[in-house]
Symmetry: C2
Subunit: 591 residues, 2 copies
Amino acid sequence: MPTYTAPVKDMQFILHDVLNVTETGIPGYADLDQAFTSAILDEAGKLAGEVLAPLNAVGDREGCRLENGVVYTPTGFKGAFDALKDGGWNGLDLPEEFGGQNLPYVMGTAVGEIFVSANMAFNMYQGLTHGAINAILSAGSDDQKATYLPKMVSLEWTGTMNLTEPHCGTDLGLMRTKADPQEDGSYLITGQKIFISAGEHDLADNIIHLVLAKAPGGGAGSKGISLFIVPKVLVNEDGSLGARNALSCGKIEEKMGIHGNATCVMNYDGAKGWLLGDLHKGMRAMFTMMNEARLGVGLQGYAQAEAAYQNALAYAKDRLQGRAVTGAENPSGPADPLIVHPDIRRNLMEQKSFVEGARALTFWAAHLIDRSVRQGDAAAEGLVSLMIPVVKGFQTDKGFEMAVQAQQVFGGHGYIEEWGMSQFARDARIAMIYEGANGVQALDLVGRKLAQDGGKHVMAFFEMVKAECKAHDGDDRMKGFAEPLKTASKQLQQAGMFFMQAGMKNPNAALSGSYDFMHLMGHVCLGLMWTRMAKAAYEALDAGDADREFLEAKIATGRFYMARQLPACGMHLARIETGAEPVMALPAEAF
Amino acid sequence: MPTYTAPVKDMQFILHDVLNVTETGIPGYADLDQAFTSAILDEAGKLAGEVLAPLNAVGDREGCRLENGVVYTPTGFKGAFDALKDGGWNGLDLPEEFGGQNLPYVMGTAVGEIFVSANMAFNMYQGLTHGAINAILSAGSDDQKATYLPKMVSLEWTGTMNLTEPHCGTDLGLMRTKADPQEDGSYLITGQKIFISAGEHDLADNIIHLVLAKAPGGGAGSKGISLFIVPKVLVNEDGSLGARNALSCGKIEEKMGIHGNATCVMNYDGAKGWLLGDLHKGMRAMFTMMNEARLGVGLQGYAQAEAAYQNALAYAKDRLQGRAVTGAENPSGPADPLIVHPDIRRNLMEQKSFVEGARALTFWAAHLIDRSVRQGDAAAEGLVSLMIPVVKGFQTDKGFEMAVQAQQVFGGHGYIEEWGMSQFARDARIAMIYEGANGVQALDLVGRKLAQDGGKHVMAFFEMVKAECKAHDGDDRMKGFAEPLKTASKQLQQAGMFFMQAGMKNPNAALSGSYDFMHLMGHVCLGLMWTRMAKAAYEALDAGDADREFLEAKIATGRFYMARQLPACGMHLARIETGAEPVMALPAEAF
């Protein structure tokens, strides 16, 4: 049975040594001193390790069950959900006005990682609620906020997002769900939505569905779409619960993973709903929350890899098999532990260096969101909107890959469910798909974000990387970081130039390389993070920080990433520069 | 529900246009004319498409069930197994003397691909039997052959291989299962074996277990191991079935995939067994079958990718979502099919070019085994023994990766079990683990095969690739093949040189790069195959072959592989040349 320990020391290093949170001047950050953040993370770690992680395999094995319209979550989920609720965890980074604690988003992100690592399927009940809260916060009327937010922030009620229909996922313009306006200002919603995570369950008294639907007069395509609040149980004027709304869960899906979360087919049969935000501007209301939602999924990618890595590492230290090629390291035992073997070590280092790099990137992106939201910093907003497809697409691809590699350390024991390593891979797989499949992230990055605001944000990113490399000129200790980063960053720029030139003539030339570009940029981002982490570690060492082993491990892990993983950038560039021809040469009918 | 159509035309192209089987002079190959091979492959395809493929999802959903020591296979498996038996498929490439048809191994391989694509878990019951037959053929006494082979070749009885124990997989020297010699020349086998595929089931009257165990006097480590024939039901002198042997299935494992195959914990409680081959030479007896067993697993890798690809392609042509960036291609419909999008096309081309290349490599390796076994060609034997870790390790890694990519084409529908795409990925995953985990394949390649016979075989491989490139000098049509192949092959040689030089001083320097080397060599092998396929396609076009579209698609698919996938070689080389330091720098306790 896998175990999980929150990597509090690693998180503290990023918050305090790398991001220097208390020095940023962002409102609310001054309070985030070492003692305060450590108290929060330790407490979250305790809940995660003792309550959530032990339920992870239970949720996988039992799954959810639909009986007479009621969805039953796995054994223990209700108790754990109450613990989450009682701890006030959901409100951590939400406004005090509605019962939250108003801590910065970066802290919500760190705590989120801990909960997701411990039990991803379970944490989605809260995660979806968080997303729905953000939508109501950004687009709701005062009345709507007062009606729904306090109970959602406290987790008495949960929330969902309803976008997908059987025949349309990415292309929401094809949507068929209808909203018929009523005289009282409400709408009757009719249609079927699929893949609705946490669409029905037994954890809360009410579920607030946010549903995209077409109201009359909106025209064709995605322009005609509006967003509606459609509660499972109607809420009376006084806030008490009234009649059941005309909606139901028709089915729960059998899935590859995240069995503990109910993925529902939701049927809306003239359900009462209320417009959220402007009529026919539903897509815009959705997009405002997209950065945080996608960052949350990018986080799932590396958080699953972290949990898988912890268990792979323990197994590699424990399992005796074979002898080190350089001579026995455990001569009194029947064999050496797996970790002596270079290829096992390579595998573990790939996992470790990815997870720690991705965590730094995610926390950095979260801090940019704080900068944007709390300070109104437009440059930070532009930068983070550029980064988001990378955080989501690259991190979930690699997170899955690393969970698969962690599974590999166990040999045959990794394939049987008993050891729990299969679950990490199966659960991580979904993050590559939902919240915009990774191919769509790549399209968003290359087709939209690169050129956004005249290319200002990508230029700022390049300048930032250049400045980082330059800052270490002549510093021998940093050569193993600054030089590979410089090379990789030039390759990224060259790819961008290729898109500009070739894409002018043929848009397929850019889009054929979009996926490679997303990965190339992912490596540059992690290279940048490792350069910053190495610098922070050297500075702490120079300042005589007591924890030498930890800091030296950071530097060694970063060196591995720079030396062994950044060479992927050259490959991605070479692929990109072949353009559209190899990809598009074969006519569809000749496949 | 996924469907499967045997890719007979692609197989025929490799057999006849690329390998020119009838011209090879290998005994038995002269009969393999177009009509004959097409009759066999069509017939196998019929059984696969109509009987085996529809049971694939059934097997996944139902799994196997252990009740009172009896294992029940999923609904329909018994009927399908009888169809396989009645068709005489198991004996296709086995000696006539024992009821087989003695066709070349390359034909057994082609038919094997078809069955594995259709239903991997089901086909393992036969596949394991095939492996056990080969062991008895190579090491058994005449008496043993006469007793067991006819019934195993006909599939009245099946077979298993028992190696792994709870505390040892790769390191078999740690084995604890004991063999006590009896006065009548038999042994009593006592111990527990795990991960025994097809260890118990309801498909056949008897199961012939081949069990590794330690007999007295063999000394420590893997040298003391012997191989035993341990039948589930003892066989009387007259060949009829006698008493049940003292062995039982204690448990069947819950696994990530291949649910239709029973993975058993086997308990031997003083079970009667007979020595197979020489005392204390059990490992050697195992190794003689290893080439075919590992090739069979390498085949599983791309065969699952083939099945997944077929379904992803159909979905990409059918599912309407979004519009082509270059203008609507289905203007009368609500949207264009997925296949118009460059990133979907890239994904499909990666799958297609891998599968077709891997098929060529696998058939070529199988033909080398025929050359070695039927002609006693030592050069072919050396070459194939070099290739086997690549065929197994590279092809199963990529096969899984491509099955995951095929799943991705379906978006959310790929994650739910209803569409069957998850199963391809989950089933393909095991092939990276069993029959020597892929890290062990890489170790075998770099630690053993490169230096085998003084490096003769790898030198022969390099010469072969060089000659192939040279043969196309000045041929403009072949430039897109010969040039990237030349570059990649030089990178492979450079990696080999690095191992020789750095590995002398520090063996970890070579072993830290072993996994990258396996992949680098995999790309060179597939590059070589695509070069040969392109040449064959051009020749057929020049000769006025009627099937222009098929041949031109081959060339375009090959061009994609050369342009887009061979750049991975440079990345692998760069990683390899960083040596041991980045991988081994961190002390185990600092992880």
